[in-house]
């Protein structure tokens, strides 16, 4: 059985719809509705004259699903290719569920580490530093640095996924996200060091004598170190800010 090929319009619709993967994010199925919504144009093509099979296919994609949203493009592309094979009778429908469940956790971890743990901090701190020169320059830097990489990886991941599960493995090797993650983290640390240096220099240095300046630097470094230790002990930024707010109220009271 040969299924109708995926029309260019439907491929474009799937690509556009993946940006709404979290449109109905919920605590039970998480991104399930978003995933089913994104793949729907492809299912309509593959099961054009087979409504019962189309219904079964939609139900398959309403199962629990959760991954890092940008990495969802890769899984979505590969799921489209697998659905095409299922529609042609070349693959078992259960393979799709197994594939998605097998990949969403590991890709989620890789994506969280790269996008949230490395790329976003790097872009944020670069934007914050440049915003000291001009706010719009900072915003432009933040958006361009993040989205340049984000949208490229989404597009390439989707294209690789459309080649099937084999394409996913090849792309993941080629993308070398673990190396990129370390590079971005290092760059974020350098920029954050510059950010801390700028503000410490602005706020702490009152006098002009060398011992005072050295003390200000050491005090700032110690404060950063202390905050970092608190973060590692799972103290949240909100808890630290609440403590500072409480201290501020005490100062006012005094």
């Amino acid at each position: 059985m040969t299924p109708p090929a995926l029309a260019a319009g439907s491929r474009g619709a799937v690509w556009r719809r993946q940006f709404l993967l979290q449109g109905c994010w919920n605590y039970e199925g998480m991104q399930n509705v978003g995933f089913a919504y994104a793949i729907l144009p492809a299912l309509r093509d593959f099961y054009a004259n087979r409504p019962e099979e189309a219904l079964k296919a939609v139900k398959r994609h309403l199962e629990f699903f959760n991954t890092q949203p940008a990495m969802g493009a890769l899984i979505l592309g590969a799921s489209v290719r697998l659905e095409e094979r299922v529609a042609a009778g070349e693959a078992d429908p259960r393979a799709i569920g197994t594939f998605k469940v097998g990949l969403m956790g590991s890709l989620g971890a890789i994506g969280d580490s790269f996008f949230w743990g490395a790329l976003r901090p790097m872009a944020s701190v670069a934007g914050a530093l440049l915003a000291l020169l001009h706010p719009l320059l900072g915003i432009a830097a933040l958006l361009l640095l993040y989205n340049g990489v984000h949208l490229t990886l989404r597009r390439r991941g989707f294209i690789a996924g459309m080649e099937g599960p084999e394409g996913v493995v090849g792309w993941l090797k080629k993308a070398a996200l673990n190396v990129r993650t370390d590079d971005r983290k290092l760059l974020a640390a350098i920029l954050a060091g510059a950010y801390a240096g700028v503000f410490a220099g602005r706020f702490f240095v009152q006098g002009a004598d060398a011992p005072h300046v050295l003390a200000a630097l050491l005090l700032s470094a110690a404060a950063v170190h202390l905050f970092a230790i608190l973060f590692r002990k799972a103290v949240s930024p909100s808890e630290i800010l609440s403590f500072l707010l409480f201290a501020g109220v005490l100062i006012l009271w005094r």
């Binding site: 919504y37 409504p51 630097l217 700032s220």
Partner: protein, 232 residues
Amino acid sequence: MAWRFLLAILLGGVCYLDRTAACQLMLHRPLVVATLMGAVFGNMAAGAQVGVILELIYLARLPVGASIPPDDTGAAVFGGSAAAFASSSIGLDPGSFTAILLLSVVVAEAGKSVDRFVRKVNVRIAHITVESVDRGDVQAVEHGLLAGLTLFAATGMVLALVFSGAGAAVSMELLPRFGPASRASFATLLPALPLLGAASVYSCSRTERTAAVFFLTMAAVFGGTVLFRWSA
């Protein structure tokens, strides 16, 4: 003034959509949101000053799995609008600036609770979607997603109105009650806030070389800043 709040609601809705439901293009980041709110309420630079500090503070909390980080978008709506209002009334002195930044934590936690509530309502929407598909209505998937998006957008717009209103109230009603001397004493806490932001990035950028490059860069830039100030 009403049109400014209307604009804040629209921009807030778009930024809140970007935060979870659509695209994730970083339009919801505090630097962007606080600057926009500052511009809407008459002082873009004041909003950006708040955004520069808030941008980094919450980065240590990653939106991983089902965990929901504090609502830094809401904190930026509050902070950006409060800074703009303060600059046109009592002036954005260091004490007011510190107070606005610290009070934004209340907003961030309130926004987080609302976000959690929305995702619980979405459970019901997802259930209805699945039940409709079971009955043979494939289009229910599109309706379900539209309902979820609408809920996220509507909640975002309401939060943008409430938080920008709160920002205006704090700057116009609360802060003027304290004299300049009281506000100046509050400013002693200000240096801790950018350092907290830097620590947030430092803690989520852990590699073998992070500590060395972070503190060396910090010392070099600190030295450069001090030399620049001495020579100026």
